[in-house]
Each structure stands twice: as C-alpha cells, then as structure tokens.
C-alpha cells in the first residue's frame, strides 16, 4: 500500500474518532443492511471528577463456615447491588475485594452526597423474623415477663414489600405480601395465636407486636411502627432485596462534592491545553517541519485516545488524567528518538527517504524495548487478573489503565502515523527537486 493510501486511511480513522470524541454528537446510528449499530458514547467520569460517594464495607464472615464463604459473599454483593438499584441511583458500581482474609464490598454511588442514608440502606442486615410471644405469668412476686419464640416465617418468605399507610393512624407503614408457602405459614401462625400478640422482629429488635384478632389467610400483612416515609421506603427496599447473609460495617467513606469535581475537570483541561501547547511549540522550535509532523501525530494521538476512552469505556479519574499526560510525553519521545536519529543519518545516506527509513528502523529497537518495560509496569498496576495481593481498585488502577492505553496508541501514532506522513512529505520534496 502506498503511503498516500495509508495517510488517507489514517485520515478516515481520525475523522471517525473525532466524531466519537466530540462532546456534542455522542451517539452513532448506522443502518447497513441487517446490521444496525446504535450506540451512545459518553465519557465516564470517576467519582473524584463527577462527584459522588464511595463506601467500603467490611463483611464479618467469622461466623460463616469456610466452604460457604465464597457463596455468601457473592450473595452479599448481589443483595447490596439490588438494594442500590432499587434505591434508584444511576450507574452504581458494587465490587468485592479481598485482602489477607478481609472481605470487602466497595460501593460507588455517583451523584450521592448524603452518605448517611446510603449507609443505613446498604449496611443494615434487615433480617426479618416473625416470632410467637410466650407470656409467663407472674410467679412469686416476679414481674410479668414474655419471651420470644422465633418461627420459621422470615423475610425469605416474602414475595414483595411496599410502602403503605396505616388505615387507623394514617402513618407510613410497610405492607408485606408472602409467597404461597409463606402465606400458609402465616395463616398457621396467626391461627395458633388468636387473641395473643405476634412479634415482628427486625435485626433482633421488635418493631411491632400486634394482637392477632383472627387467623389471616390472605397472605398479606402490614408492619406498623413509628416509621417516617423514608424509613418505610428504605425498609421495603431492604426486604425486597433480601437480608444480608453476613453483617457488614463501614471501613472507608469518600465523598466528593460535584462542584469540587467540576473544578478539577476545568483546571485539568486548562492545564492540559497549556501543557500540550508548550509541547507543540517546543517540538516545532527543536525540529522545525519534522516537529510539525510530530505535532499532527500528537493531535491524532489525543483524538484516538479520547475516542477509545468512550468506546471501551474507561472511567476517567484524576490519576487517570495524569496517566494520559505521561503517555503524551512518551508518545512525543518516540518521535524525538526518530528525529534525533534522522539528524545523524541525514548526511550518511544519498537520499533523504533512505535516511528516514533507516532512522525509523534503528529507533524502533529502543522504542520497542523501552515501551514494553513501561507496559509491563502498567500491567502489574492495572492488575487485569484481579490478583488479591495487588491493587484491585482505586486511583492506582485508573492511572495504570490510561497509561497502558496511551502507550499502545502512542506506538501506533509514533510509528505508523508519523512514518507515513513523513514518507509523503519527503517524497513531495524530492519531486520538487526533480522539476
């Protein structure tokens, strides 16, 4: 393929990536025969840029048998995810992490600043049990006492919970609908206890203990306590999602306000533009026309990178931006290596294009070896295989992913793009000489 054709292909790629990375038109709608591509591309921002909360819960698995641990952690994660989804937060992320026997659940809630509510929603075990009340008559002057006898009717027997209102007081309450089996159990329990109270116990605390008037066969019940509307809503979410198989507690909490994130974004953009501008100018002053070719390559690098961030998608964080900026430096380095080589080879060869091809060939050895070493470190930091002894979340990983991506793209732009642009550029100059 001729350099001209390659440059045209590169130009087409550039236009496609530019289209994807532009903030205005961020969706693609292509109909080609049976293929219908419809995709919306948005830049995903991490919590430190978009604002939001990260909560880390530690699971107390001390009372769980070793062989059941993996299972209960998986269901813990699923239940927490269901709760967060039912709460109506867009694009939450719930991940498990393990380090030296400590099991953690990392929950990210974009746009949430009030973590107190989120903590109580996610962190409460919400173990619901119906219990019979066994009253013991006062004997020998002792006070009247009662003990609870838990039944086998629990939160697991619910098919649905919802917010309702107490018909008598108008206060918020939680309505329960049992499964078929649960309804039968409830009928049996209420049948056994007509005229006596049945306690509704949540996490070992009695929420209410209404007197049973008659056997209830409809398979529904209501918890009336002193709920606020929010409390009733959260409890119904917890009951719908299920009880946590193991208790959890918060060990880490980070909240970034939306304004601070916005500030970081606009400052990073300004810094990025100023920095890039200085690099572009420097390359022009240091290498003249060659430097301009490198600058074009750098712009193509930036556009392709941004497009890939949207396509993959990469969650962009502050350290991620740093990783990107560092990869810009390494992208320019490929060009500098080639140009310095070209300066040396220029006088040794008869034609400029010969000198150019040889410079590319020679520089490639060092570019390859150096970039593979950097990729190796980025790979260890990004930890794609989720090894527990390395960083499994957080800023280090975000940084490594953008760095690795940047190096890979810079190998493409530094070698293929600059090379073909230069081939075209050098050829034209030679033709002019021949005229």
């Amino acid at each position: 393929m001729s350099p001209l054709r390659k440059v045209i292909l590169i130009f087409i790629l550039f236009i496609v990536c530019l289209y994807i990375s532009l903030p205005l038109k961020n969706h693609i709608n292509i109909k080609f025969g049976k293929i219908d591509i419809q995709k919306k591309y948005d830049l995903k921002l991490g919590l430190d840029l978009a604002g939001g909360s990260q909560l880390v819960f530690e699971a107390d698995t001390s009372k769980i048998a070793q062989e059941k641990k993996a299972n209960s952690l998986e269901s813990l994660r699923n239940i927490i995810e269901r709760r967060v989804n039912l709460f109506g937060i867009s694009e939450p992320s719930v991940q498990t992490s393990n380090f030296q026997g400590k099991d953690r659940i990392v929950v990210e809630l974009p746009g949430i600043n009030d973590t107190k509510e989120a903590q109580s929603l996610i962190g409460r075990t919400a173990q619901l049990v119906f219990a019979e009340v066994i009253e013991e008559p006062a004997v020998n002057g002792a006070t009247h006492s009662a003990t609870l006898n838990p039944t086998d009717l629990t939160g697991a027997d619910l098919s649905e919970a919802g917010v309702s209102f107490d018909q008598n007081t108008g206060k918020p309450a939680v309505s329960l609908t049992f499964t078929k089996e649960g309804g039968d159990k409830f009928a049996e329990i209420t049948g056994r206890n007509v005229g006596r109270p049945v306690a509704i116990v949540l996490d070992n605390e009695v929420v209410s203990a209404p007197n049973v008037q008659e056997k209830i066969v409809g398979g529904t019940a209501q918890i009336t306590g002193s709920f606020t509307l929010d409390e009733a809503k959260n409890l119904s979410i917890q009951l719908n999602a299920g009880a946590l198989p193991v208790p959890v507690k918060v060990v880490e909490e980070r909240t970034i306000g939306a304004t601070l994130g916005q500030e970081s974004i606009s400052k990073s953009i300004v810094a990025g533009i100023v920095g890039l501008g200085m690099v572009v100018l420097f390359m022009f002053f240091a290498y003249g026309k060659l430097g301009l070719v490198a600058d074009v390559g750098l712009i193509i690098f930036g556009v392709i990178t941004l497009a890939l961030y949207k396509i993959i998608p990469v969650v962009l964080t502050l350290p991620g931006i740093a990783g990107f900026l560092l990869s810009v430096g390494m992208a320019v380095d490929s060009n500098i290596l080639i140009f310095e080589r070209f300066k040396e080879e220029k006088d040794k060869h008869s034609t400029i294009s010969d000198a150019l091809e040889i410079s590319f060939g020679r520089a490639w050895d060092s570019i390859r070896d150096a970039n593979i070493a950097t990729l190796l470190t980025a790979f260890i930091l990004a930890n794609p295989l989720d090894w527990n002894f390395l960083h499994t979340s957080g800023p280090v990983r975000g940084f490594a992913i953008t760095l690795a991506l940047g190096i890979t793209i810079s190998l493409f732009t530094g070698i293929i793009v600059s090379r073909n642009l230069l081939r075209l550029f050098v050829k034209e100059r030679k033709e002019k000489k021949n005229d």
Binding site: V251, T259, S268, L326, I336, A373
Partner: protein, 264 residues
C-alpha cells in the same frame, strides 16, 4: 567526544549525597502520612464567602464526628470533600505497593537482562530505578517536615509511575550502547561515553516535553493534584539524571572492577 564516564565517581557521590539527605530525613522525621495511611477523617469545607479550608481529624467515634459536621453545617459551610478512612486501609496499601514494586522490579530485571543478554544491565537498571524511588521518598520526607506536605494515595501512584519512566529512559541509553557495541565493539567505557553523547539531546528534549506538561499541571491543575505533579516532576528530573549517571555509571564501574579482578 566528551569523556562522561571519567567523572562517574563524581556522579555516584552526588547521588549518594542526595540519597543520604533523604534517608537521614526519613530516619529522623519519617514521612508525613495522610489519612489514606493513618486512618481518620479529612473534610474540605467551602464557606459562603468562597473561602475553603481542609481539616483533618484522627479516627473518632461516629457521634463525635457527626457533631463536628453539624456545627460546620450550622455555620453555613458546605462539605466539598469528605473522606473517612478506617485504620486497616493504610497497612494494606503499603503492602500492596511494596508487592507491586517487587514484582515490577523483578519483571524489569528479567526483561532488561534478556534484551541486553547480560544480568549486569538488568541489575544496573533496577538500581537506577530504586535510586529514583528513594530520592522521591526522601524528598517528600523533607517536604513533609519543612512544608507539611503529606503522602497519600496519589503519591503512591507517582512513585510507581517514576519506576516505569526511569526504566524507559535507561533502556534508551542501553539500546545505544548495544548498537555501538555491535557496530564497533571496544571497551564498554568508550562505548558508554559515545552512547551518552548521542542520547543526551534526546534525553533532555524528552524530559523537557514531560516537564512542560507537569509544570502546567502544578501551576494550573488545582490543589488536589499539585503535589502529585510535583512528585512526578522530581521523578522525571531524577529519572533523566539517573539513566546515564547512575545506571550507566554503575554498569561501567562494574565492568572495570570485573576486569581488574579477572586480571589479578
């Protein structure tokens, strides 16, 4: 041609002096750890008049913390950032980082030794890399003592970045040594001199481009990222210096000593 390697003892003495300052500071004052390491709470408040203040608290009971937050709320201050870290997070972070450094160093040692077909090259490259990390840690110990700069998650990221940058730069130098050696052969001392001369402009130009990006970040990038960028800048300067003047200098010294012992 400039006889760079003639002064190799001088470079090593300069490095040793800087390293010694850093290590002494580390022993005497240590590092100033942020909440990421110690556990505790960090709150950045924005007041209605636009001023902002960052406050740090040691680990405390939930209800005491709630009281502080409520007090500020009543004064009309808004929480721009709230970080509450349990005491178990820090040691875990340190362990994982050390593991990452050991694995990276091992991987790089293998890769460089393989590419340059000599363990000498690998070990010298890794020594240069450790030199840069230690200089960075030492500098932040001094910055912590005199300016109250804390080390946090981002510092750890910067440290790991510098590992890769340092090796990246060293390999470019090595590559030139390998090439000249293939073409003309001769004493490693002379080859290293030639290679250092030839790669000097490239090394400086490359560092300039990275330094420009980082300077822009330090001056314009905002408070959250400032010390992170400073750490990267220090690492870049140290990484550029260490490639010819630590890694290659050690390589040449090693080669000379080896020959001396073989003769005697």
């Amino acid at each position: 041609m400039i006889d760079w390697m003639k002064y190799r003892w001088l470079y090593l003495i300069i490095s040793a002096t800087v390293l010694l300052c850093g290590v002494l500071s580390l022993i005497k004052w240590g590092l100033k750890y942020g909440v990421d390491f110690t556990g505790g709470t960090l709150i950045e408040y924005k007041f209605s008049d636009g001023a902002s203040e960052t406050l740090k608290y040691p680990p405390m009971e939930d209800k005491d913390l709630e009281k502080i937050r409520l007090d500020f709320k009543n004064q009309g201050a808004q929480e721009a950032r709230f970080e509450n870290v349990g005491p178990s997070i820090g040691p875990e972070l340190v362990k994982k980082t050390i593991t990452a450094i050991i694995i990276s160093a091992g991987g790089i040692l293998l890769w460089v030794s393989l590419r340059f077909k000599s363990l000498k090259f690998g070990i010298s490259a890794v020594l240069g890399m450790l030199h840069d990390s230690l200089i960075l840690i030492g500098s932040f110990s001094l910055l912590g003592h005199f300016m109250g700069v804390e080390v946090d998650f981002l510092f750890v990221t910067a440290l790991l970045t510098i590992l890769s940058f340092s090796v990246h730069d060293t390999i470019v130098n090595y590559d030139r040594i390998r090439e000249i050696n293939k073409k003309y052969g001769g004493e490693l001392y002379n080859v290293a001199n030639e290679a250092t001369s030839e790669t000097m402009v490239r090394s400086l130009n490359n560092s300039f481009t990275i330094i420009f990006m980082l300077l822009a970040l330090i001056l314009l990038g905002g408070e959250t990222i400032k010390w992170f960028a400073v750490a990267l800048l220090m690492g870049t300067v140290s990484g550029t210096y260490s490639s010819p003047f630590v890694s290659v200098a050690i390589l040449v010294t090693w080669d000379k000593l080896e020959k001396k012992f073989k003769k005697s």
